[in-house]
């Protein structure tokens, strides 16, 4: 079977994995590498040109561009005869009651990003097989990076692709599913965020794809790796993360920091400060990065100002909801050597407090 999903933990060099995979392909193989974030896309393009530059058939596209180029634009008239898509509207949304073509296009015939995957999916049916045939003829292989960020009708599209003659390779870390291509779609809501794992496990049972776990992190210190594992309890059945980081510094692992020690801690270790969003961490005036934005980045040390939910999780071990779990997991796994969490009451947690005097 040629459809694979690689579930990789943070710091497991996912992108490099894709690049190496591409470099080992036969030279005339036509592969599409689709990815969700812009930064990831340019990173991939860069690295591919370095390591797989002798493969003329490899093409990198954003997920939206892929849907636009190979689904929506060529086949749009099958749903709306004689009409054409003239552009892309990233931020807009159709009117709630919009019907027909207005549901998909704005007044300048630009397609709404939030409706693109639904349109693409519906065109697969409407085009009487011509759309899928085209994809099967122009690609031997489709690689999808950051697969955890897809949502809504994207899943239906992946389902169709899994049935096609094209080999599908997906890479992602379900535990990092903080972004979603269509955050407001109600379609397939039950598979949103970390619950996407269930979608894949259902497909694996039906024999449509094989799931490979990549559990080694090159980034996170063993203590950080095992703390990150604890964010998702056993019911998720995620495998344990194995750390390959053997580096030792004077300050390695997970630490709690009392509010009054925050400025001392910062001046001593100069960590990257992280918060959930603009509305959190207001008690401290720090140079924050939001959890979501920090995705894909690496820092030697981070300091996390927790949400109420995270505090609760630390104090009592009560599991967070899937979405905040994913965000917190992203924040923790940014660090190589140390993670500090600002908290005054750690409840029953065995983790110790940082002592400025020691």
């Amino acid at each position: 079977m040629a459809n694979n999903l690689t579930l990789a933990v943070a710091g497991s060099r996912k992108t490099q994995g894709i690049v190496e995979y591409c470099a080992n392909l036969e030279h005339d193989r036509r592969a599409l590498v689709a990815t969700y974030t812009q930064t990831n896309q340019s990173e991939l393009k860069d690295r591919l040109s370095k390591f797989a530059g002798d493969h003329p058939g490899i093409k990198t596209l954003g997920w939206f561009t892929f849907l636009l180029h190979d689904f929506a634009r060529p086949f749009f008239p099958f749903m709306f005869p004689r009409r054409r898509i003239k552009g892309f509207n990233f931020d807009g949304r159709p009117h709630r009651m919009a019907k027909g073509i207005k549901r998909f296009l704005d007044s300048n015939d630009r397609v709404y990003a939030c409706e693109l995957s639904r349109l693409a999916f519906e065109l697969i049916q409407a085009s009487k097989g011509t759309l899928l045939r085209r994809i099967e003829c122009i690609y031997d292989e489709i690689l999808i990076d950051e697969v955890q960020d897809l949502s809504g009708y994207d899943w239906e599209i992946i389902d169709v692709l899994l049935e096609s003659s094209v080999d599908i390779q997906m890479v992602g870390d379900i535990r990092q599913s903080v972004l979603a291509t269509n955050a407001r779609s109600s379609k397939n809501k039950k598979y949103a965020h970390a619950e996407a794992i269930n979608w894949f496990r259902e497909r694996e049972k039906k024999g449509k794809l094989a799931i490979v776990e990549k559990t080694q992190t090159w980034r996170c210190h063993p203590d950080i790796a095992s703390f990150s594992d604890s964010i998702f309890d056993h019911s998720w059945s995620f495998p344990r993360t194995e750390s390959l980081n053997t580096k030792k510094t004077e300050h390695d692992g997970i630490f709690f920091v009392r509010s009054e020690h925050v400025s001392d801690y910062i001046s001593k270790y100069k960590p990257q400060c992280l918060r959930s969003g603009a509305n959190s961490g207001k008690d401290f005036d720090l140079d924050y990065l939001n959890f979501g934005l920090s995705k894909g980045m690496t820092f030697e040390r981070v300091l996390i100002v927790p949400t109420a939910g995270i505090k609760q999780f630390i104090k009592t071990g009560k599991q967070l909801e899937p979405k905040p779990s994913a965000s917190f997991y992203v924040a923790v796994t940014r660090a190589e050597q140390s993670v500090a969490v600002v908290i005054d009451d750690s409840g029953s947690s065995p983790i110790g407090f940082w002592n400025p005097q020691s």
Partner: protein, 533 residues
């Protein structure tokens, strides 16, 4: 392979649709019927270029369909806000796996149809809406093409700037090389396509090295001397070197030679033959679409024959040829079934011609099948004497020669009447045929060809056996011996029957030139009435 061509608003073409044949397409038609324009339009959509330049650079007001333009001007002057005329050329390609990147539904087909294809549109540039509207306040038939742009796309709605590699096209025009550079754009393209990429690179590199060594060796002495001249501004030294810029690349200096005579010096026919061989030769990057304009130009009869044999033997299954011609010879040789006739009402082709009949005409390439194809109405007679007599009878009956009414009288000269009728039937021509009964019952002769006859459209007239077996006795029968003797000026002692039989053509000419009219044989009169309508 191109399966359908749609042209709108381009020169004489509007709402034009052609479904070409898989392999050979012989485009025939009267002068000004748009044969070259069709080839030009196909090339334009395939390559996005005209004579090597982008469509938008070559664009001129005469590209637009004059009818559309004058309608537009008329409507605008009447205050109606009709849209500016546009040009669109669409090529629908065969739905094969290797063309799927060009596949999509962005084409004018209704209902929606997804297939590989490519379209070229010339349309008003939205950046110049204000200027266009200002111009349209007092419009004339010379459209302001400066405010137009070209839009070259695949049916998958992707803009193209370079010809997709599956659409290699070779254009072999009848124009000959006059420019001093020795090679025109089309030949350059053909030559360049003929070389493998590696070969091309090697040639280019070697050429540069030769030029460099030329600068270092032969020019050295000259440069030593010129260097002392101080002729340039600011005291910088002057020297001579070979031009290494892209303008002077190998493909403008390397030209094909025939028997060591450079291409531009060889005969015009030879030039066409070379282009055809280069473009069509079996090769990895051979052209998929070959367009040949009037191959009969500049060629002797034997030269044309050689060229046609070459075209036939080189044409591969993956090649589609479009050949415009004025020559029946070309038509018969390459097969009547490839015929595409350009007419005022569009194109007609021959979907259902018996392969035997195609083969039959191939063996008789000298026959004037093109006249059959292009005539409005056709009269088929057996030989020259029938032709001459019929012309005279027709003129006596209607006061004008048949050709003046668009009726072409053709003598079959021993060709099978049935084959000719089949060809006319396939062309849906109005035709009347006449033949001698040769002593056989006319009804059974007619039955023999009845498959190709159609009421009011195609008919055979044959004289009764009792009134004579051939034309001559029929004439005597309907006019009486003494009248005929008088007209023919035959002495009383001569045997009229024998003389007429021996001097068929002379007899016909004397009748045709006679001041006295003859009474036409019954079957000829009926035939004339039938075709006159």
């Amino acid at each position: 392979m191109i399966r359908k061509i749609k042209i709108n608003g381009y020169r004489i073409y509007n709402n034009f649709v052609l479904e070409p044949n898989r392999k050979f397409n012989l485009i025939v038609g009267a002068n000004e019927s748009g044969k070259s324009t069709l080839l030009e339009a196909i090339a334009l959509a395939l390559t996005g270029r005209v004579n090597g330049r982008r469509a938008s650079e070559e664009l001129n007001p005469h590209w637009f369909n004059t009818e559309l333009v004058s309608d537009f001007v008329h409507e605008r002057k009447a205050g109606k806000a009709v849209a500016f005329p546009e040009i669109s050329i669409e090529l629908f390609l065969e739905d094969t796996d290797d063309l799927q990147n060009l596949c999509g539904a962005i084409n004018s087909d209704v209902p929606t149809n997804a297939c590989p294809g490519i379209s070229l549109r010339i349309l008003p540039n939205p950046d110049y809406v204000a200027e266009l509207e200002k111009w349209a306040q007092d419009p004339n038939t010379i459209l302001p093409v400066e405010y137009y742009m070209d839009d070259w796309r695949t049916f998958s709605d992707q803009k193209i700037t370079m010809r997709p590699k599956q659409l290699a096209a070779a254009i072999i025009d009848s124009r000959t090389v006059r420019s001093t550079s020795g090679v025109d754009y089309h030949l350059k393209q053909i030559l360049s396509d003929h070389l493998e990429p590696a070969e091309r690179a090697a040639v280019s590199l070697a050429y540069r090295q030769v030029k460099a060594s030329m600068s270092n060796d032969a020019l050295k002495g000259v440069n030593d001397r010129i260097g002392l001249l101080n002729a340039s501004l600011h005291d910088r030294s002057l020297s001579l070197a070979m031009d290494q810029s892209a303008r002077a690349s190998w493909d403008s200096s390397i030209v094909p030679h025939v028997d060591e005579v450079p291409f531009s010096m060889s005969g015009q026919g030879q030039q066409a033959a070379i282009k055809i061989s280069l473009a069509m030769n079996k090769h990895s990057e051979k052209a998929n679409y070959v367009m040949v304009e009037e191959p009969e130009n500049h060629l002797s009869h034997t030269g044309l024959n050689t060229l046609l044999s070459r075209i036939e033997s080189l044409a591969g299954d993956q090649q589609q040829l479009f050949i415009s011609t004025h020559s029946s010879y070309v038509l018969n040789r390459l097969g009547l079934d490839s015929l595409q006739i350009m007419g005022r009402k569009g194109v007609c082709n021959l979907p259902e011609l018996n392969p035997d009949t195609v083969a039959y005409f191939k063996k008789l390439p000298g026959y004037d099948s093109l006249r059959l194809a292009l005539a409005e109405k056709v009269v088929l007679v057996e030989g020259p004497s029938d032709e001459i007599i019929f012309e005279r009878i027709f003129k006596d009956m209607y006061g004008r020669r048949p050709i003046e009414l668009g009726i072409d009288v053709l003598s079959m000269r021993g060709l099978s009447l049935k084959r000719c009728l089949e060809f006319c039937a396939a062309l849906d021509k109005t035709v009347v045929a006449m033949r001698d009964n040769d002593g056989i019952d006319p009804d059974s002769l007619r039955d023999d060809a009845s498959e190709w006859l159609e009421d009011q459209k195609r008919e055979i007239f044959i004289g009764q056996v009792s009134s004579g077996t051939t034309l001559e006795p029929q004439l005597v029968y309907s006019n009486g011996e003494s009248t005929i003797r008088g007209i023919l000026d035959i002495k009383a002692h001569a045997d009229l029957d024998k003389w007429m039989k021996r001097e068929k053509t002379e007899c016909a000419i004397r009748i045709a030139e006679s001041r006295e009219s003859i009474t036409p044989p019954e079957y000829m009169r009926l035939a004339a009435e039938f075709i006159h309508g």
